[in-house]
């Protein structure tokens, strides 16, 4: 590994671009008058574009451990980076008009950029301390985004709940990291793998350490047992922030969980069983809780929990099915597109969120409703949308990895989920009598554009699954 010794700053280019962009945004917002602060969104978008271009360039290099073994430059990192960057770009556009009346509208893009950088650090981290750094960055900025509307009781409550659960689980994560460090004497995952394989680790301590790290990361994955903030943030946070927070941290944290577990020998701690149980509990709980929600954002929040459960299926069979890393990233990317599109519709319709308010909307806002339907059908996994290919690869990996029962459970959950997604779709198309023909105001071009692009991405990622999976098929987790 020739990159091991070098402090190859260029390999962290995408993350650095976001941080630099965020600083520029902050300075700009500090010195420009309010009427000119709208420029911070385009500035932030430029930073995202630079980061994405850089990430694509890095993808042409051979996968390697770099930055003294602390950073995994592999296809999984690239996939996660591009997904998070896509989500960040959409969030910036969605928030642009939404935040216009907020006195701190100019700074908001900086928070988004920092948070995205945190999620990307989580995805690329090959060192447990670096995971902690990523976790703290994404969490702290996340609390800010959730409670950005200081005067909204719902937003503050969501932010508070997010913060309390986050503070607790971050502490647990740190405990796990410390225990693991104590056992192996190193924080790098590469070194941890060697130490655990060579020595005869104390199974109990290792179990506690792994469980603590798992719980800590489950927080940002939105998985049981640290999922409780997800529906509140989805419902109470500003809708653009909700679109970001239900997706971006999930992507980073899921990859991080995969990387840590990947180095733990299965014969010392049978983590597959634990993750499988968490996955089963998460998808089932999320789906059952979503069944009777009357609020679209809360429904999407619970659906986000259930989707986290599906994503964990890929983590379960890491190392057993060669398809697993690719399936994880592909599923998360497809989920990100669909979820952002769905929240985008909510934003574009000025926060319209009660299911009753969506009745008979198809005739009045056909394009927005069509995007929402595509997004929801993709979340179900109807072909040929992104969610279908994602679930297909997950199921294949699970069966191949010997976890057929988990695939069966996921199928049962998918059928249940169809029910509540159709509770949204049906009334939009099938109701017409008795609804007043009131106007349906829109938020403006930024939000609608971002929403439509996310909807198209949901279709395109499914149809273009060939080349994408072609790249991801060779993906394996470093170290």
């Amino acid at each position: 590994m020739n990159g091991m010794d070098a402090l190859a700053v260029g390999h962290l280019g995408p993350e650095l671009a976001l941080v630099v962009g965020a600083v520029v945004v902050l300075l700009t917002a500090a010195f420009l008058p309010r009427r000119a602060q709208w420029v911070t969104t385009p500035l932030a978008l430029v930073a995202v574009a630079v980061a994405a271009g850089w990430s694509l360039w890095l993808a042409t290099l051979e996968p390697t451990l770099t930055f003294m073994g602390d950073w995994a430059l592999d296809r999984v990192t690239t996939g996660a980076e591009l997904t998070v960057l896509g989500v960040a770009a959409a969030t910036l556009a969605l928030a642009h008009t939404w935040m216009r009346t907020d006195p701190r509208a100019g700074e908001h893009p900086a928070v988004v950029l920092f948070s995205a950088a945190g999620a990307m650090v989580l995805a690329g981290a090959a060192d447990t301390m670096e995971i902690v750094v990523g976790m703290l960055l994404v969490s702290v900025t996340g609390y800010t985004m959730a409670a950005y509307h200081r005067r909204s009781a719902a937003a503050v409550e969501a932010g508070m709940k997010y913060f309390l659960i986050g503070a607790l689980t971050n502490a647990v994560l740190l405990l796990g990291v410390v225990l693991l460090f104590g056992m192996t004497g190193t924080t790098s995952l590469d070194g941890t793998a060697t130490a655990l394989a060579a020595g005869d680790p104390d199974a109990v301590v290792l179990l506690v350490a792994v469980a603590a790290i798992g719980v800590g990361l489950a927080f940002e994955i939105g998985a049981v047992p640290a999922h409780a903030w997800v529906p509140d943030v989805a419902q109470g946070a500003p809708a653009p922030a909700a679109a970001f927070l239900t997706v971006a941290p999930k992507v980073g944290a899921a990859v991080a969980l995969g990387r840590v577990l990947h180095v733990v020998p299965v014969d010392a701690v049978d983590w597959r069983v634990f993750v499988a149980l968490l996955s089963a509990a998460t998808m089932t709980l999320g789906n059952l809780a979503a069944l009777w929600q009357g609020d679209l954002r809360r429904l999407l929040g619970w659906s986000s929990v259930s989707q986290a459960g599906y994503a964990l299926m890929a983590v379960v069979v890491l190392g057993r099915s060669p398809l697993a890393p690719g399936a994880l990233i592909f599923f998360l990317a497809g989920y990100a597109a669909a979820n952002v599109a769905a929240f985008g519709v909510v934003v574009a319709l000025r926060g319209r969120t009660s299911l009753d308010d969506y009745r008979a909307l198809a005739a009045r806002r056909p394009a927005h409703v069509a995007v929402l339907v595509v997004a929801l059908l993709s979340l179900v996994g109807i072909p040929p949308l992104a969610g279908f290919v994602g679930k297909l690869t997950l199921f294949t990996a699970a069966i191949e990895g010997g976890y057929g029962w988990l695939a069966v459970l996921a199928v049962a959950n998918t059928v249940v989920s169809l029910f509540y997604y159709l509770r949204v779709v049906g009334p939009m198309y099938f109701d017409d009598a008795g609804v007043v023909d009131e106007p349906v105001p829109l938020l403006g071009a930024w939000a609608t554009t971002a929403t439509v692009v996310a909807g198209l991405a949901t279709v395109a990622v499914g149809l273009a699954a060939g080349p994408l999976l072609d790249v991801l098929a060779s993906a394996h987790l470093l170290p």
Binding site: G326, L377, V380, I382, P383, P384, F388, V389, L392, T393, F395, T396, I399, E400, G404, A407, V408, V411, T414, V415, L418, F419, L422, G426, Y429, F430, A465, G466, L469, D470, L472, A473
Partner: protein, 498 residues
């Protein structure tokens, strides 16, 4: 050619959505053209088709879609697929032409019909297992919107039930597909490879699970008792043409899948479950007929006869896949099953269109509210009578050709089951005769005196469908010549490798 036949309706649907300025007439012309072109293309395919050829599939196109997973846009036909694709194209032209209450949304209605045609043709013409699944699911989406938006009664609940049931079935089926797929080397969803490799040949619990899962999913769609309960509400509440498509095309996806996938790709394992499947089929035959007999609602009655008729088709497939009995009998049974699919599609399609016509006039399906309609509506009466006689299996009409072959085949393999299934024929005859008597004979009540007869469009469509029914009945050779060799090839291909 086949690819064009599949995607032209999709382009038609997109055009309908993208052109908000189209008036009712314009959208009808566009839809009819988009629905008819595939029929013409498939006619050319039929003419080009070499019935005596020994390749399993002809006119094959193979383009990579997701090469990593071994998925490709693969289309091709054998005699069975070609016959069913033609049936699909015919029925969709009929459905698009047939008048219905459009609820002011003519573009959307026709766009969904064309979308459904795209999904249905794709399903019958693809020879890639995953693409098959894709179209299987897309057909659910199309039908969900058609029933929910243009249905009547409790249409939303029926549409939801339809979607939930059949998606549950299709996902279970997907798990079975994945087990099949993971047994191939190199991994591929190519049906030709799957048939040649027989990936489950080792047997064992995994193989049984896969075949049972696939059969379960297909049985929901077919539908077989006891997973048929979504069918009556979906049929009753759907608009007439959608019912015709549901019965005529979508149900065939289940039986077509059975002979194309488990029967062809897992011969040994299928043979193990053939007897239970045959028993379930016979239960469906008898139960469907009995319950149909008890219905007082016109559309429910026709809907339950579908359960009965699809039972015959499944019986034929189960017999064909059994490891016992003479080869000739099994060849006969599978040919009969395919002809039954075609015949049932045409006949029940016609019956549901007729039921739709009745609904448009009175918004009432209760049989005992009717009587003496033969006087005000002679064309309706003759068309219904012909379709009903065909459905009950009168010699000289299409249903007879099919059921005769299935029964002859079954007698040689499972004689007891054949005997029981014959009961179904008797009951069906009784229930159709009683239905005709109720609708058309006796005194005409005053309120029905002004009942309008079939209009020009309705008459043309029904005359064409019923002409095909008669043609297959009196001169089945043209169809059998294409289907029979394909059935033989299918059975040989599986047996050879297994």
């Amino acid at each position: 050619m086949l690819t064009f036949a599949i995607i032209i309706p999709l382009f038609g649907a997109i055009a309908l959505v993208a052109l908000p300025s189209l008036d009712e007439r314009g959208s009808r012309v566009l839809a009819v053209v988009a629905a008819t072109l595939p029929l013409a293309l498939l006619g050319v395919s039929w003419a080009d088709f070499d019935a005596g050829g020994d390749a399993l599939f002809q006119q094959v196109t193979d383009v990579d879609w997701i090469p990593t997973l071994g998925v490709g846009w693969r289309v091709g036909v054998d005699g069975i697929a070609l016959a069913l694709a033609l049936l699909t194209a015919v029925l969709f032209v009929a459905a698009v032409l047939y008048p219905v209450d459009l609820r002011g949304r003519h573009r959307q209605y026709r766009a969904w019909l064309l979308f459904l045609q795209f999904a249905s043709l794709g399903l019958f013409l693809t020879i890639d297992l995953l693409v098959f699944y894709v179209f299987f699911d897309l057909s659910l989406v199309g039908m969900y919107f058609l029933i929910g938006r243009w249905g009547h009664g409790d249409a939303r609940t029926s549409a939801l039930k339809f979607f939930l049931y059949t998606l549950a079935g299709s996902l279970v089926m997907l798990l079975g597909f994945l087990v099949l797929y993971l047994g191939t080397d190199p991994l591929t969803f190519d049906m030709r490879e799957l048939i040649a490799q027989q990936p489950l040949a080792g047997g064992g619990a995994r193989a049984t699970f896969a075949v049972v899962a696939i059969l379960f999913g297909l049985a929901v769609k077919t539908p077989l008792v006891p997973v048929h309960t979504w069918l009556p509400p979906a049929h009753v509440d759907a608009p007439g043409p959608a019912s015709a498509i549901l019965a005529g095309v979508l149900l065939k996806m289940g039986t077509y899948g059975m002979l194309r996938i488990p029967l062809a790709m897992a011969r040994d394992t299928f043979a193990d479950v053939a007897l239970p499947l045959a028993v379930i089929a016979v239960v469906s035959v008898v139960y469907g007929a009995l319950v149909a007999m008890g219905q007082t609602d016109l559309k429910r009655r026709i809907a339950y006869t579908s359960v009965n008729h699809m039972g015959y088709a499944v019986l034929g497939i189960a017999v064909a896949g059994a490891a016992v009995g003479p080869q000739a009998a099994r060849d006969l049974a599978i040919t009969g099953a395919v002809v039954e699919m075609v015949a049932h599609g045409l006949i029940t399609g016609a019956l549901f269109l007729l039921a739709g016509s009745v609904w448009r006039r009175t918004e009432d399906y209760q049989l005992d509210h009717y009587g003496g309609l033969a006087a005000p509506a002679p064309r309706l009466a003759s068309a219904t009578t012909l379709a009903a006689f065909a459905s009950l299996g009168l010699p000289g009409l299409a249903g007879f050709v099919a059921e005769f072959q299935i029964f002859v085949g079954t007698f040689a393999v499972y004689p007891v089951l054949a005997g029981v299934a014959l009961l179904g024929v008797l009951i069906t005859a009784a229930l159709f005769l009683q239905m005709l008597q109720q609708l058309f004979f006796g005194e005409t009540p005053d309120r029905l005196a002004s009942f309008a007869d079939l209009g020009a469009h309705e008459t043309v469509v029904l005359a064409a469908l019923l002409a095909l029914v008669v043609l297959i009945g009196v001169w089945p050779t043209w169809l059998l010549d294409v289907v029979t060799p394909a059935s033989g090839l299918l059975l040989d291909a599986g047996a050879g490798a297994g």
